[in-house]
Every structure is written in structure tokens, then in C-alpha cells.
Symmetry: C2
Subunit: 292 residues, 2 copies
């Protein structure tokens, strides 16, 4: 399907994408670039990329598909650095977890090259980052949201959808605004809360002792707190308006429960917990087919 993937960013997301594309036989060779030369070298040693590029621009040279897998705050500078080599037949995608800021960055960085750019968000990841944790199956069975700009070409949009589908993904299309509102609620807020949960423990003299006693509920609840700090710093700031609005709604719901607990209103408390419990049990049942 493609001759050459230009991979910009050889972390977990980018490396896993390269491995999956290779295994599916969708690309002949991968030219990769990472900000840190040692990461690029490691990616080649691990067989994630075939050729090390000394710059983002040189990773794009000769490529017919390009993936930006960098923290979202680096999107604009990266697109500016490569735009001279973006040609109309090329497919350029990103994998950022926020989309309004990525679309804005693309609109600032690109002109006619905008038609080649398809903003993407694969709903995949794990709390372990870096090329060492690359996983050829990371994207299999996952949702991928495409949020095309007004200038994204129809040919590129179809090509992007076909590519992710060939990797076993379920492709959806949304506006960047609808995307960011939804993921503030179901991804960015849970991460924010998980970070705050661990911070809250760290701020206590006995926090470490308490954590040593924790079980599997805590383990799963806080798993995402181990996520990559730089990547999440960018996401939380990029989507701050939607995120802070969601955090406010969450704190209202929390304070409702607190008031019921404080007053010992067992009946109303149970009713409220029951709503949550049933909804969560039903969610698991309805979506588990898509999740590992």
C-alpha cells in the first residue's frame, strides 16, 4: 500500500504504529526520527525503523505516508519543519490525544499542504512509554477518531481510514470540538484525577505506608497515573477549557456523595451508587468486544 513511512517520534505510539504497519505488509520501509538520537538508534536496533533520519524533514523525504507521534505541543513546529516536502499525494497523520489544538497548529503551519493532513486519535496507549515498550498489537481492535480540517483532501481521508482499518481499528469521524469535549470527559479527566490521587497520597506523611497496603482496586484505578508526564502535561493544557469544565462537574458529583455520607443518608447514597454501578456494569458489557 505504501512505499515508505516517515516516522517522526519513536516513542510508544509511533513505534507501535511502525511495527503494526510492517507486520500488515502495508509499508516497504520505515525511516524514523526522534528528537533524541539515542532513541532513533534504539528504534533501528529494535527493528522498529529501518533507517535513521537526522531530522524530521529527512524522515519525510521520499515518504508517501508520514506519522507525527510527538507531544501535541510540538505539532506546529514539526509541521513547519517538514512542510516544504509535503506533496499533494502524501498522507500526513498525527496521533495526538487532543484535536482542536492540533487542527489550529496545522492551520497555522500549513497552507496548500493542509489537504495532505488528516488529524487522527487512536484510542490506544498504555502507561509504559518509549520505544522499549512498543507493541505491535497496540492498535488492534481499537477505535480511531479522524477529525479532518476543512481543507483535508477526500482522497487522504479515505486513505487514512483504509490504513487504520487494515490495522484492525474501528474508524470514526468527528469534529475536533466534539472529540475534545468527549475525551475531556472520558480520558483527560480520569488521568487528571489519577495524578491528583497519587499526589494527594504523596502530600501525606503516611502516604507511602498506605500505598504499601493497597490492593487490586487501587492498582487498576491508578494505572494511568504512571503515564508519560510530558505527553500528559501537553494534553491537559491543550484541552484545558473542556477539561476544567468536566472536572467541575465531577467535583459537584463528588460533593453530592460527600454530603450524603456526612449526613448518613444511607438510602439516597445507595441509590446514587447504584446508578453508577449499573451504568458501569452495562458499559463494560456493551463495549468489551472492542477492548483487550
Amino acid at each position: 500500500m505504501f512505499e515508505q513511512l516517515g516516522l517522526i517520534g519513536c516513542g510508544l505510539m509511533g513505534s507501535s504504529f511502525a511495527l503494526a504497519l510492517k507486520r500488515a505488509g502495508l509499508v516497504q520501509r520505515v525511516v524514523g526520527y526522534s528528537k533524541s538520537p539515542s532513541t532513533t538508534e534504539r528504534a533501528r536496533q529494535l527493528g522498529v525503523i529501518d533507517i535513521e533520519a537526522p531530522s524530521a524533514l529527512q524522515a519525510v523525504s521520499g515518504s508517501d505516508v508520514v506519522l507525527l507521534a510527538v507531544p501535541v505541543s510540538a505539532t506546529e513546529a514539526t509541521l513547519k519543519a517538514i512542510r516544504h516536502l509535503i506533496d499533494p499525494a502524501m498522507l500526513v497523520m498525527d496521533v495526538g490525544s487532543t484535536k482542536c489544538d492540533v487542527v489550529d497548529a496545522a492551520q497555522r503551519a500549513l497552507r496548500k499542504e493542509l489537504s495532505s493532513f488528516v488529524p487522527c486519535h487512536p484510542i490506544a496507549g498504555k502507561e509504559l512509554s518509549g520505544v522499549e515498550n512498543a507493541d505491535v498489537n497496540l492498535y488492534a481492535g481499537k477505535q480511531v477518531i479522524l477529525t479532518p480540517t476543512e481543507h483535508t483532501g477526500q482522497a487522504q481521508l479515505r486513505k487514512a481510514a483504509a490504513l487504520w482499518t487494515a490495522l484492525g481499528c474501528h474508524v470514526m469521524q468527528m469534529s475536533p470540538q466534539a472529540h475534545d469535549a468527549a475525551y475531556a470527559a472520558v480520558s483527560h479527566l480520569p488521568h487528571l484525577i489519577a495524578f491528583a490521587m497519587i499526589n494527594g497520597l504523596q502530600d501525606q506523611p503516611k502516604g507511602k505506608d498506605y500505598m504499601a497496603l493497597a490492593g487490586s482496586g487501587f492498582r487498576d484505578f491508578t494505572r494511568i497515573a504512571a503515564s508519560d508526564p510530558q505527553m500528559w502535561r501537553d494534553i491537559l493544557i491543550a484541552n484545558r477549557e473542556e477539561l476544567l469544565a468536566q472536572s467541575k462537574l465531577f467535583q459537584q458529583a463528588l460533593q453530592t456523595l460527600e454530603a450524603l455520607i456526612d449526613s448518613g443518608n444511607a438510602e439516597a447514597l445507595q441509590a446514587r451508587i447504584q446508578q453508577a454501578s449499573q451504568t458501569r456494569a452495562h458499559w463494560r458489557a456493551s463495549l468489551q468486544k472492542n477492548l483487550p
Copy 2:
């Protein structure tokens, strides 16, 4: 080791305990009672118990080990109902997630029989409740906290420790107060937050749509929100003081992050996330041997 287990409460925790005790060859027969006769019957049909008892008292009759596996608010009434048949050689345990209230309840319900009672909290469970979800391996490899009262007999305490150890558990002893402070932080608060997270989504017109887009981070983060409402209603109210104190610390940590996000202070935000991320990554590494 034991002739007869009297099981009071044939839900997930009690049924899994009976199955584990049987498989380990530690008990000859299990006499079980549940508030709902259909649950007791189902427990017998599933081989969890051997004999159905029509009352808690009759489950205790002839037993040398008794397990209370009921919502913590039912502890006092249950102990009162069985106390006439508690003899000095008997081992009586509970599996409640809060311990100060259980110890208080025992001190109100029992007199000389207090020496037979060992308050226990196995750090095990899952979000699926009921006898249908009984799991012979639920307790294997898990921590069990014993919080003896001042009047708990040394013989019973040793017997309880030996029993849990024989089931593959790691046994620890703590005061009820230390227990409740720790588990407010690492279990009760995460549950409260998970319930509030789902409630907060339910309170929004688009909440269901957002949830349909959620991925594996959300899945793990909210798993405990599907937990048993009545059991958790009791726990949250029983340990309300420690829990509300922990919730306050959590909200302070959350608001610290919110302020950094709102002001776009990327450096300080990353530093704070990094603390959480490193602590959580280190926690996983240090304790994963004990968790499935």
C-alpha cells in the same frame, strides 16, 4: 483443620472463602445461611455450601469456624443473633472492609464471646458480586489484615492467621484505627471517586455518548464503580471521618493541578505529574508479585 464452617452471607466474599477452604481440605462441611433463601439455595446448588441453614444461628450450630460475610452495617445484629452459640473454642471472623465500626459492633453485641472474634479484612474482591461470581482463587496471594479487639483470644488470633496463611494469604496485624486510616486513602476514596466519576457523566446530557467513546484507560479507572452498592454504601458511611478527610486532601491536590493547567504553567505541571507517575510506576514494580 476444621470440622464445620458456618457461613453467614453467601455473596462473593463468603462463597469464595468457602470454596477456597474446601479446596485446601481445611473443612469437612459448610453450613450456609443468606438473608435471601434463594441465594442460600443457589449456594448449595453450586456446591459452595453443603447444607442450607434457615437462620444465622443455625449456621453457627455445630460449627468450629464461623465467617460473617455481610454488609458491615449488619455486623452487630448478626453477632447478637448468634452469640448464644459462640463457644470459647470457636473461631469467628468477618471480612468487612472497615474495622473500627466492626470492632465497636462486636463490643456492643458480645461479652465473654469477644475472645472468639477475630476481625479480618482480606484485601480481595471484585466488581462482580454474588454467589454466581464466587472464585476459589479470590484470596490466593492477597493480604489479609487482622485487627484484634482487646479481648480477642491469642489462640483464636493464631488460628485465624494460620487459616488465611493456608489459603495463600499474607497476614498482617494492625489496629482498627490504623487500618481504617490506610484503607480510607487507598480503597474507600478510590471507590468514592469512581462512583462520582460515573455520576458526573450521568448528570450530563451527552454523558452516555461520551462513555461510548471511552477506551481501556477509562475501563480500568472505573472498574470499581461497578461494585456492590449496598456493601459500599455501608463502607463509605462506616468510615466517613477518615474518608472525608482523605477526600479533602485529594481535592486539594486536584485543585493544585487545575490551577497549574489554568495558568498554563507547563513546567510546574509536568513536575507534579512526574512525581505521580514515578511513584505509581515504582509502586507497581514493588508489589506486583502479590497481585494477579
